[in-house]
Symmetry: C2
Subunit: 115 residues, 2 copies
Amino acid sequence: MSRAATTSDVFNAIAEPRRREIIGLLAGGQARSVNDLVEAMGLAQPAVSKHLGVLREVGVVSVQQDGQRRLYSLNASELKAVHDWASQFERFWSIHVDRIKERAERKAAEVAKKN
Amino acid sequence: MSRAATTSDVFNAIAEPRRREIIGLLAGGQARSVNDLVEAMGLAQPAVSKHLGVLREVGVVSVQQDGQRRLYSLNASELKAVHDWASQFERFWSIHVDRIKERAERKAAEVAKKN
DNA sequence: GAATAATATTCCGATACAGGAATATGTCAA
DNA sequence: TTGACATATTCCTGTATCGGAATATTATTC
């Protein structure tokens, strides 16, 4: 047979360094135009548009028309899947931190109950 | 020109569903032989070996010889990079939780200082 | 050493896909 | 409408890569 997985899922979308770069640039919270991104990365406009297309299809990014430009903004909730998946293994690299966190949360819960 | 990024990074490694499946199968903590994995997934041995090769190169998986079989085990710390990257956006989908966590950690620090 | 079992590697065909170049589409302003 | 600007799409080329089939390698046992 041929190749296996289609391109349309979050994990594939973030596999590309350039796309992670775009996500990083939008992480500020402000919407940015395509040309803005083109200048920020050292990449040609068609390439950027194509990457944005992939991110758009997956839902990681959303568009908003602003005159003749298109403002892209991050839809970070779509990255939750990645975070959740990776969190599954958190215990492997930080048992200590986990315990500290648990203690902290327990204490906070107690405090919250008091107030 | 051609393609951009080399295949040898964690994000690319986990882009493949089959490879994530392997990681999931090894998440129990026990090392498993190739044949074991072959049976667990519905995939031919060469394909599994190849995926294991990719994961090995990235360091997500490590091998241990056991007689004529090779036991693969998860090296989950290599997935920390993914987790860290995704954590960067945690605030977007859970502002509440963040605030609670911050408060909790602050409070825990105070308590720790007192003791 | 020969046979066997477990795993890795090589070769192959089909497809995915990144980036460049050229072009199309869309939006505004005069 | 025309012109200018912003963005998307198409076409192309080179490469990456998945999975299957066949084969090579390594380890064990007799």
